[in-house]
């Protein structure tokens, strides 16, 4: 299973935000690597927001939920807000019945809305700083 090591989830930067789209099934090792890559990228780019796109994900089980919640918590510790975008309707239905909650993660319908949401919340933080 050597080729597994070449699996990578790209992380792009636009304005003050990092954008990543999960297109391959996450497994433990990849998830750990993805978390580490994201945190390093946050540090390097001084990003203020993170968008995770899950349009390509067809199953959100308790494992991937935990990974997403952990990422948002870690990003928060580094001062970064996370928005999850692109959740398919059937996944939203399944998640609610399943009973898991994406605690601490903002959501938006799509990438565009996600970016506007982040612009809003990061601007608020800037204004608060300026006033103070």
């Amino acid at each position: 299973m050597k080729e597994i090591d070449y699996e990578q989830i790209p992380i792009l930067k636009i304005e003050d935000f990092l954008i990543t789209s999960i297109q391959i099934p996450l497994h433990d090792r990849l998830a750990v690597k993805f978390q580490r890559d994201l945190l390093q990228k946050i540090e390097k780019t001084k990003a203020k927001g993170l968008v995770i796109d899950i349009t390509a994900i067809d199953v959100v089980d308790s494992f991937i939920t935990r990974i997403l919640v952990e990422i948002a918590k870690m990003a928060k510790l580094m001062g970064v807000k996370t928005v999850l975008v692109g959740m398919r309707p059937e996944i939203a239905i399944t998640l609610v019945e399943f009973g898991v909650e994406l605690e601490g993660i903002m959501t938006a319908l799509n990438l565009e809305n996600g970016i506007s949401l982040l612009r809003g919340v990061t601007n608020e933080t800037n204004e608060e700083r300026n006033v103070g």
């Binding site: 299973m1 597994i4 099934p25 497994h27 433990d28 067809d58 199953v59 959100v60 089980d61 308790s62 494992f63 939920t65 935990r66 398919r88 309707p89 059937e90 996944i91 239905i93 399944t94 019945e97 399943f98 009973g99 898991v100």
Partner: protein, 135 residues
């Protein structure tokens, strides 16, 4: 009807295969997208349970017919340590290995029938069924 598929589950990569096989069968049988997702999510939990608790096992998928209804039945079988308190593992919030604690209980809510047979040292068999609703 020999439409029976067996997926050996030995590593977490097999979890992805198991749910893809189940989804394909459910889709062929005429299950809608939401039901396919419910079934695939439940199977994902069962397969992960095998990998985490037993190390290896099998997932068996087949079409069943009962009283004129068609359904998909999935058996998750392992020879692992077994479960001593089944009620406890089905309770929300219960987690033995640092997961979210919704795994099996959550999976149960996504299907029509859910059954666990297990005893300490005797392995675990989980059986789930989703019926195709008649329209």
């Amino acid at each position: 009807m020999d439409d029976e598929r067996v997926v050996e589950v030995k590593s977490e990569y097999d979890i992805v295969i198991a749910r893809a096989v189940v989804r394909a069968i459910a889709k062929d049988m005429g299950f809608g997208l939401v039901d396919q997702t419910r079934i695939a999510t439940a199977v994902s939990e069962l397969a992960r349970n095998i990998v985490v608790h037993a190390g290896e096992g099998i997932i068996l998928v087949r079409e069943i017919i009962k009283g004129g209804s068609r359904g998909v039945e999935v058996l998750a079988i392992d020879q692992g340590p077994g479960i001593s308190n089944i009620e406890l593992v089905l309770r929300d919030g219960y987690s033995s290995k640092g997961s979210l604690g919704v795994g099996l209980g959550g999976a149960k809510r996504l299907v029509d029938e859910f059954e666990i047979k297990s005893a300490p040292g005797k392995g675990t068999t989980v059986r789930i069924v989703k019926w195709l609703s008649v329209r």
